[in-house]
C-alpha cells in the first residue's frame, strides 16, 4: 500500500486537490455566480470564438486586450451549460490548474526529503491561502500565472544547481507562456535573462554563454514575435496591445483593472529562496534536516502572511474574497432596472465589459453583444422593437472597446446624438440613473422613421 501510494502519490494528490477545490467552487457559487469580470469576459470571448462569431483573423484568438492563453484554456468548458455563459467555467478550470500547482509543489518539496507529515499540511496551507483560493474561486487568470511562476521557480532552482538543458528549456517555454498569460511578465522574462547571464558568466567553454541565453530566450522571443505579428495582421499595428499603456494614467488604469495581487506573484520567489535554504545542508543527515527545518519555517512564514492580513488585520487590509461584489451589485442593479422599466426592450451591450451583463443576466436572450456597432445589422434585426444600448463610459482602459467599433463616439461623455445610417437616422438619448450607472451609459435608440410618424 505504502509503495503503491509512493508511486501514485502525484496522481492521488492531484485528484484529491481537484475534487476538494471543485466542491469549494460549487459551494461558493451555490446561490449566485460571483466570478470576476475577467472570468465572465474570457468565457464569452471563448463562446464567441467557438461560435465563429469573431470574424477574420481575430477569429484565431478572439481578443487582443485579453491575453490569449487563459482564454484558450477556457474553450473546453465554455459550451457546457451552466459553466460557460455564467463564467463559472473559469473557476472550474482554475481548480484544475491549481491542482497542478499543488502537485508540482509536492514534487518540488519531495526533492528536499521533506516528510509527508510536513509536506501535506504545507500543501493544504498553500491551497487554502486566501489570495490563492480567492483567485481560484473567482476564475482569475492569476491561477495560471501562479502555476507558471511556481514551475518557473522550480526549474530555475534546478537549473541554477545543475545547468541541465531540460530545466533551461522549460524555463524558456514558461517565460513564453507567461507573456501570453500576462503581458507584464515581459519584465520578469528580462530579469530572468539577467540571472541566467550572471550564472554562466564564468563558464569559459566556447559559445556556451550565448547558446545558454538563446535556449532560454528563443521561446520567449518566439511568443512575443507571434503576438506582435498577430497584432499586425489583425489591427495593422504590431504594438496595438501596448497602446493602452502608452501614458501613465492608462498604465495605472490597466493595473487597476488587472487587480494584480503582488503577494501572489512574490510567493514563488520566496519559495525559491526557501528551496535554496533547504539544499544548504551538505555534511550529514542532521545538518540536512536542520536546513530543511529552517526552510519549512520559512515556508510557513510565507504562507501565513496572507492569513494574517485576511483574518487578523481585517480592518487594515482589504479582503481577498468578495472584491468583485460591489461591482457585481451595480450590474445587478442595472439589470433589475432594465427588467422592470423596459421588460420588452432589446438591449445591445458593447465592448468586452458588456459580456458581464450577459453572464449575470437570467434573461440572456434579450441581450445582444456587439464588439462592433453594426447599425445595419441592428436595423435589420430589430425592426419595430424598443432598442437600448448599454455602453461603458470612456475612462481607464476603454480604448480597448474601440476594437472594430464604427462609432467610438458612443463611448464619449459628450456624444453626438445623431447618427446617420443609410436612409435612416437614429437619435440617441443619454440616460443616467443613480450610482450604479457611474460606469455605464444607457442609450435609447429612436428610429427616425418611427419618430416622424
Amino acid at each position: 500500500m505504502q509503495n503503491w501510494f509512493t508511486r501514485k502519490e502525484k496522481y492521488v494528490i492531484f485528484t484529491v486537490v481537484l475534487l476538494g477545490l471543485l466542491v469549494l467552487v460549487f459551494w461558493y457559487h451555490r446561490d449566485q455566480v460571483l466570478v470576476s469580470r475577467e472570468a465572465a469576459v474570457r468565457s464569452w470571448v471563448g463562446i464567441d470564438l467557438l461560435a465563429g462569431a469573431v470574424k477574420g483573423r481575430q477569429g484565431l484568438i478572439g481578443s487582443l486586450k485579453w491575453e490569449p492563453l487563459p482564454t484558450l484554456l477556457l474553450l473546453p468548458v465554455v459550451r457546457i451549460p451552466g459553466l460557460g455563459n455564467s463564467g463559472l467555467g473559469a473557476a472550474v478550470v482554475g481548480a484544475v490548474i491549481s491542482a497542478f500547482t499543488v502537485t508540482l509543489l509536492n514534487t518540488w518539496w519531495t526533492r528536499f526529503d521533506m516528510p509527508r507529515t510536513v509536506r501535506f499540511p504545507l500543501l493544504i496551507l498553500y491551497q487554502m491561502c486566501p489570495p490563492v483560493l480567492a483567485a481560484v474561486l473567482t476564475g482569475s487568470s492569476a491561477v495560471m500565472m501562479l502555476l507558471l511562476l511556481m514551475a518557473g521557480a522550480y526549474f530555475l532552482g534546478s537549473w541554477l544547481r545543475t545547468l541541465d538543458v531540460r530545466s533551461l528549456a522549460y524555463l524558456g517555454v514558461l517565460g513564453g507562456l507567461a507573456i501570453v498569460t500576462l503581458y507584464l511578465s515581459v519584465v520578469l522574462v528580462v530579469l530572468m535573462a539577467v540571472v541566467i547571464v550572471l550564472r554562466v558568466w564564468r563558464v569559459r567553454a566556447r559559445s556556451f554563454r550565448p547558446a545558454t541565453l538563446l535556449i532560454y530566450l528563443i521561446p520567449c522571443l518566439y511568443t512575443a514575435t507571434l503576438w506582435f505579428t498577430a497584432n499586425w495582421l489583425i489591427m495593422g499595428d504590431p504594438v496595438f496591445f501596448l497602446r493602452g499603456i502608452a501614458t501613465k494614467e492608462r498604465f495605472l488604469a490597466e493595473m487597476a483593472e488587472l487587480e494584480l495581487d503582488w503577494y501572489l506573484y512574490l510567493m514563488p520567489l520566496l519559495m525559491l529562496a526557501a528551496a535554496w535554504v533547504a539544499t544548504q545542508g551538505r555534511r550529514g543527515k542532521a545538518e540536512r534536516a536542520a536546513w530543511v527545518s529552517v526552510a519549512v519555517l520559512l515556508l510557513l512564514g510565507i504562507l501565513a502572511a496572507p492569513y494574517l492580513t485576511e483574518y487578523v488585520m481585517k480592518a487594515e487590509t482589504p479582503t481577498y474574497f468578495g472584491r468583485n461584489e460591489a461591482q457585481l451589485e451595480r450590474i445587478d442593479e442595472i439589470l433589475t432596472y432594465l427588467d422592470h422599466a423596459h421588460p420588452e426592450a432589446k438591449v445591445f451591450v458593447c465592448g468586452y465589459t458588456g459580456y458581464q451583463f450577459i453572464a449575470r443576466s437570467r434573461r440572456k436572450e434579450r441581450f445582444v453583444h456587439l464588439m462592433s456597432v453594426d447599425l445595419s445589422r441592428i436595423e435589420r434585426e430589430t425592426r419595430g422593437q424598443e432598442l437600448y444600448f448599454l455602453v461603458p463610459r470612456a475612462h481607464g482602459v476603454t480604448r480597448w472597446e474601440d476594437i472594430n467599433l464604427r462609432l467610438p463616439g458612443l463611448f464619449d461623455d459628450y456624444l453626438e446624438t445623431n447618427v446617420q445610417s443609410g436612409d435612416l437616422r437614429m437619435d440617441f438619448m443619454l440616460g443616467r440613473l443613480g450610482e450604479a450607472w457611474s460606469d455605464w451609459h444607457l442609450i435609447r435608440a429612436i428610429r427616425k422613421d418611427l419618430s416622424e410618424e
Partner: protein, 497 residues
Amino acid sequence: MTEHQADARQPSARDYKRVFFELLGRRPHLSAYHVLTPGQKWTLLAILGALAAALALWTGGTLIVVNALLILYYIVLCTWKIWLIDESLISRREIVITPEEVAALKDEDCPMYTILVPLYHETETLAHLVRSIAGLDYPKDKLDVLFLLEEDDTDTREAFSTLKHPRYIRGLVVPDMQPKTKPKACNLGLHVARGDYLVIYDAEDRPEPDQLKKAVVGFTRVEENVVCIQAKLNFYNPRHNLLTRLFTIEYSMWFDLFLPGLDYLRQPVPLGGTSNHFQTTKLRELCGWDAFNVTEDCDLGVRMADENYQTRILDSTTWEEACSRPGFWIRQRSRWIKGYAQTYLVHCRRPLRMLRRLGFWKTFGFHMMIGGTPICLLINPVYWVLALFWVVFRSEQIAVYFPFPIILFAAVSLFVGNFVFVFAGVLAAYRRGYYDLVKTALLMPFYWVMMSIGAWKGFLQLITRPNYWEKTKHGLDKVRGAAASAERRPASGQGTT
C-alpha cells in the same frame, strides 16, 4: 586472407540467392520485394476511389474533413515527439559504460566480433577505413572484419588487393546481381560471419575506439531480449558548410533525443544505418536484412520489435561524414524516405497482426515514427503554401476550408508544431555540446524544405524504381575529414546533461 580466398562458409554460386534473399524466401510478407501486396493495392484503390467520389459529390465538406484529419495527425505527432524529447532529457536509459568498466574487460573475455563494411566505389576512403578499424581498442585476434566488395566495382577491389591490410580484415566479393543494395551484401557477410557479435560500419565511419568493448559490456548488462545495441551517430565535419551544420543538428536530434526517447518508452527503434551491434545468432534467426528494402536498418528494428526483441541505445558515438552537397544530400534523403515508406507499407500489410504482436503503444509509436516521417515531409509543402497564401493574400478561398475550430487546431499545429521542431534542434545541438550550432538551428525550416524535396523524390521513386539504391557519395570532405578528430569533438563545458 584476400578477397579471392573463399571462406569455409562462403556459399556456392547456387546458394547465393538463398543467402541474399532469405527473408523473402522464409517470410515473404515481411519483404519489400513487392511494394504493395494485392490486398494493399485494392484497399488503396478503394480509399482513393471513395475520396474521389466524395470530392466529386461534396468537394468542400470532403476537403474540410481531410484537412481536419491531417491537422489532428500533426498535433498527435507533435505531442508524441515532445514526449520523446522530454523523456530523453529527463532520464538516461541509454547504456552508459564508464572507462573503468571498459578497462576491466580482459582480452581473453572478449568474444569474437565481426565487423561488416559494405563498400561500393569507395577507393578514396579505403585507407582511412583500415586505419580506423586498426585503431579500435579490441584484441585483434578476436576481430573478424569483412570488407564486402561488389563484383562489378573493380576499382575498389583492386584498391583493396593492393592495400596493405592486417590479417583480420578479409575481403568478400558480392556477386553482381539485382537488386544492388547494401542489405544484400550484408546478408552475405552475415552468412560467413564468425563473430558472436556483429556490427556494421560504413566506409567513412570513425567509431570511438572503445565502442566494441562498450557494446560487449553493454550486452552483459541488459535484459535477455535485447539483441541489438545501437551506438549514436554524428558527424566529424559539422562545420564544413551550412548544410553539414543543419545535417548535424538533425542527426543530433535523431540520435540524442528521439532514439533515446524511444528506447526509454520501449518502442520499436528504427536502427541507424551503421554502428548497430547485434547478437549474430539472433540476427540469423531474424533472416538478416531485407535485400529489397532501401532502409533495411529501419525495417530490421521494426522486425525485432515484432519478435519481442529490444534495441537499446549505447552512449558511444560513431563519427561519419555529413554529406555537404545539396544534390548528393537530396539523393541520400530520397532513399531514406523511400525506405521508410517501404518499411511502413510492409508492416502495414497485416495491421491486426501487428497490433496483436506489438500491442497498442508500440503500434502507435510505429505509425508515428515510421509512418509519420514520410507522411509529414510529403504534406508539409502543401500547408506551407496554404499558410503563405493565407497570410499574404488574405485568401477567403483558403479560409473556407478552415472553419472554427479547425482553424484553431491548425494554428496550434502551425505555431506550436514548427516551434517544437526548431527548438528540438536547438536543444539537440546544445546537448551535444555544439554550442556554436545553437543559432544555426533556427534555420531548420529551410532545411525542412530540402527534406520535403528529398521526400517527394523518394516517393516518386517508390513508384518507379522501388529497390533502386541511391548511393551516398563519401569522401567529399577529405581535407576536413583528415582533421576530423580535432573538429568532431563538441565543445567541452558544463550543462550538457
